[in-house]
């Protein structure tokens, strides 16, 4: 019983994390952890700048289909 509850909790957490990844909520956190976010040379983007830059990039190539 306890094991089942634990499994369900883990599954729910995984789903939640997946949902945040899918819709873009977690994108900035991911950027901060990636090499571009960590490197010294570049100025690190703020959450706002990153959000706008991501969108500009995403909607400059085919990303929605019939």
């Amino acid at each position: 019983m306890q094991k089942a509850a634990r499994n369900i909790r883990r599954l729910a957490r995984r789903f939640w994390r997946g949902l945040r990844e899918w819709c873009g909520d977690a994108a900035y956190e991911r950027y901060l952890r990636s090499s571009a976010g960590q490197s010294e040379g570049y100025p690190r983007l703020s959450a706002q700048e990153f959000y706008v830059e991501q969108l500009n990039q995403r909607y400059s190539r085919p990303n929605r289909c019939c």
């Binding site: 994390r17 945040r20 899918w22 819709c23 703020s46 706002q48 969108l55 289909c65 019939c66």
Partner: protein, 713 residues
């Protein structure tokens, strides 16, 4: 090679015959038998009506078997996916473009990108042939053509750092091939946008409720856009949920607008004003900053799309409606009222998305390859996501065939064919063997909160009626029918608008890129005059097709949807030509039929359809025959002077459509000739072929790494 062995062991057989293995084989054999049985039931049933559950069982079993066997074969033998090879997302990991992404999350991204209105509208229109041909083509086309294309193009692009289909055509086929592919993409995009816009216009025409709902999504999107930009940057989930809540409210509030005479008048628009409103909207969305309008609308549409597809699946499983349409109708002879043309080739043209869609090759060679974690994931994402889209197509077919056939034909037939008054039209349709009275239609229109349901070709209203009937059988009954109907219309229109604005923006970049070759400053994507001019050019181009469709007395869908299908399938042929060339260069001659057969099939259907659309003597099929018939009427003096200009424009449009079809077909023929020359050289040469793959780099990631470790732990 580990992945290859892993996925291939079912086929290869190692001689070890454990009980577990035997059990697994037994399970798969029973899945296959169940699928075959369900398909047989669908194909051979001639009883009163057929339960929709059989469609679901047949489709799901076929997909499972195709995925388990055929995609495993493709992954192991044909492509030899290699998990020891670092993918672009590992080598270039920059947190922006190249982002290693969990398999399931990326599946969600990829599916949201490929699934649009196509798999809903196409099967609904093709239902005029009966449920059988469309369903079989959806299932078989996906398993052997559509999924194969998506999977192999994704694989090719992964091996090339996420290069686009045009770049791959240039490098692997020829320079000219690449240029043709690029032009073809632009041309197809223009036609696609014009046609889907026409579907929206036909859905909103003289419907204040639907028009109000869709109009309100624009301020809602602006609100969400500002929230996500300034209030809580990047908090997409909460912003979108807020927006979705507001949208559901305006769907509900639409009935108050429809009930109030003064407000209803404001939102009751004819076809032409609606067409112009949509053009203005797309121009604005393309020229304004993305974060303001385009992106938030896309978020809303993605959430609603996911929700609506789940709801449709759940509704069909829960209600398991009876399919009332016969397996084959008399219209397979080409006299169909929804669109003219025989079952071959037009069934395979009408259902493009859902069976095979060339447009997917743009997605498979766009964002997805840059985010994939391991090569072996390409099987699940490339092949699997397309199977799911095919399933959406089968559900749309079920929804369309679950309504009374008479009602289906009444909604989708233009008045020039069935008759202008409700009584005349009902008599014509009843005469075809699909009993219908004018009262039924009036009652249904009233029940769904519309002024009329006659002549609403385009697939959206009939699908919405079908869905509303299924939903209201689950929750709410008759009372909620109108809410469900407008919910269905809203979600279809919403994601068509998303295709429109995103497509217009991408088209704008293509125009700027092409224009930049002639005059450098035009190519600068940040320059305001260039942005305005290029947006206007692209909107003007698809807007012309839209306008032409709106004023077409035969109902624009009749001429434009096949044009869209042809161009989409031509793009698929282009993608398969590129894939075949790459496979030949990789030395996979033995299995070249994997792409060569679907490619040949696509060339046959598109060329036959193009020829018929241009030259057929029946004015409802052949563009030129229709133009000539109209010209003959003018010479005979049968056209009143007031309609002379209009008719002349109609003649011009038909000739333009013929020319566009011819140019597209010619481009693809040139590309195929280019490729044939290449193939001949490859097969005749003993030297190793030059592949433009990125060099092999071994992965640094641990074996079990799934990308989730990047997450919140």
């Amino acid at each position: 090679m580990r992945a290859a062995q892993f996925s291939g062991n079912f086929l290869i057989g190692t001689g070890v015959c454990s009980v577990k293995r035997l059990g697994r084989i037994l399970v798969w054999v029973s899945v296959a038998l169940l699928g075959a049985g369900a398909l047989g039931k669908i194909a051979l049933d001639r009883g009163e009506s057929l339960n929709a559950i059989w469609f679901v069982i047949a489709a799901v079993c076929c997909y499972l078997v195709a995925y388990r066997l055929y995609s495993a074969f493709l992954a192991a033998r044909l492509l030899a996916l290699d998990d020891t090879r670092a993918t672009p997302s590992e080598r270039h990991d920059d947190g922006r473009d190249f982002v290693p992404t969990n398999k399931w999350v990326l599946f969600g991204h990829h599916f949201a990108a490929i699934a649009g209105p196509g798999p809903l509208v196409g099967p609904t229109l093709a239902a005029q042939f009966g449920y059988l041909p469309g369903t079989l083509w959806l299932i078989a086309g996906a398993a052997f053509a559509g999924c194969v294309q998506d999977f192999i193009i994704l694989f090719c692009s992964i091996r090339r750092d996420g290069k686009s289909i045009g770049q791959m055509a240039r490098e692997e086929v020829s320079k000219r091939g690449g240029f043709i592919a690029q032009l073809a993409v632009l041309a197809i995009m223009v036609i696609l946008l014009g046609v889907v816009a026409l579907v929206v216009v036909n859905a909103l025409k003289s419907s204040p409720w639907a028009t109000f709902t869709l109009a309100m999504t624009i301020p809602i999107a602006l609100l969400v856009g500002v929230y996500l930009r300034f209030v809580r940057p990047g908090r997409v989930l909460e912003g979108s949920l807020m927006g979705v809540g507001l949208i559901l409210f305006v769907v509900f509030a639409g009935q108050w607008v429809a009930d109030s005479p003064s407000w209803a008048r404001v939102f009751t628009l004819g076809g032409v004003p609606l067409a112009f409103a949509i053009m203005v909207y797309a121009f604005a969305a393309s020229a304004l900053p993305v974060w303001l309008l385009l992106a938030p609308r896309d978020y809303l549409s993605a959430f609603i799309k996911a929700g609506a597809i789940f709801a449709l699946a759940a509704g069909i499983l829960f209600v398991h409606p009876h399919v009332l349409m016969p397996p084959l109708t008399r219209f397979i002879d080409g006299s169909g009222p929804v669109f003219a043309g025989k079952i071959f080739p037009f069934c395979f043209i009408t259902i493009a998305c859902g069976a095979i869609s060339g447009f997917h090759s743009l997605i498979s060679s766009g964002t997805t390859p840059k985010m994939i974690l391991r090569e072996s994931h390409a099987r699940f994402i490339g092949y699997g996501a397309m199977l799911l889209e095919s399933f959406v197509g089968v559900m749309a077919m079920v929804a369309a065939c679950a309504m009374t056939p008479g009602v289906y034909f009444a909604i989708n037939s233009p008045p020039s064919i069935v008759g202008a008054t409700p009584d005349a039209a009902a008599a014509t349709i009843s005469g075809w063997g699909f009993p219908l009275t004018a009262q039924t239609m009036a009652g249904l229109a009233h029940a769904v909160g519309e002024q009329t349901l006659w002549n609403r070709a385009g697939g959206a209203p009939s699908l919405a009626v079908g869905m509303a009937q299924i939903f209201s059988n689950t929750i709410g009954g008759e009372r909620l029918l109108s809410i469900w109907y407008h919910f269905a219309i809203m979600f279809e229109a919403l994601f068509i608008l998303t295709v429109l604005d995103a497509g217009t923006r991408v088209g704008r970049f293509m125009v700027q890129e092409l224009g930049g070759r002639v005059w450098k400053p035009f190519g600068r994507t940040g320059r305001m005059p260039s942005i305005l001019v290029s947006s206007a050019i692209i909107v003007g181009m698809w807007g012309y097709f839209l306008y032409q469709g709106v004023v077409d007395p035969l109902g624009g869908i009749n001429s434009l949807w096949p044009l869209f299908g042809i161009s989409n399938q031509l793009l698929a042929a282009v993608a398969l030509v590129v894939a075949t060339t790459i496979l030949l260069k990789m030395g996979r001659t033995r299995w070249i039929w994997v792409t060569l057969l679907p490619m040949t099939w696509l060339v046959i259907i598109t060329m036959t359809a193009s020829y018929q659309k241009i030259f057929d003597a029946n004015p409802r099929i052949g563009f030129l025959a229709y133009a000539n018939a109209l010209a003959a009427q003018i010479t005979a003096g049968k056209i009143p002077a007031a309609k002379l200009v209009e008719t002349q424009r109609l003649i011009f449009n038909q000739r333009l459509d013929a020319a566009v079809t011819a140019v597209l077909a010619l481009m693809v023929i040139v590309l195929i000739v280019e490729a044939l020359v290449q193939w001949y050289a490859i097969l005749g040469s003993r030297r190793a072929q030059v592949l433009h793959e990125s060099p092999y780099v071994p992965t640094q990631w641990a074996e079990g790494y799934s990308g989730v470790a990047h997450g919140d732990d």
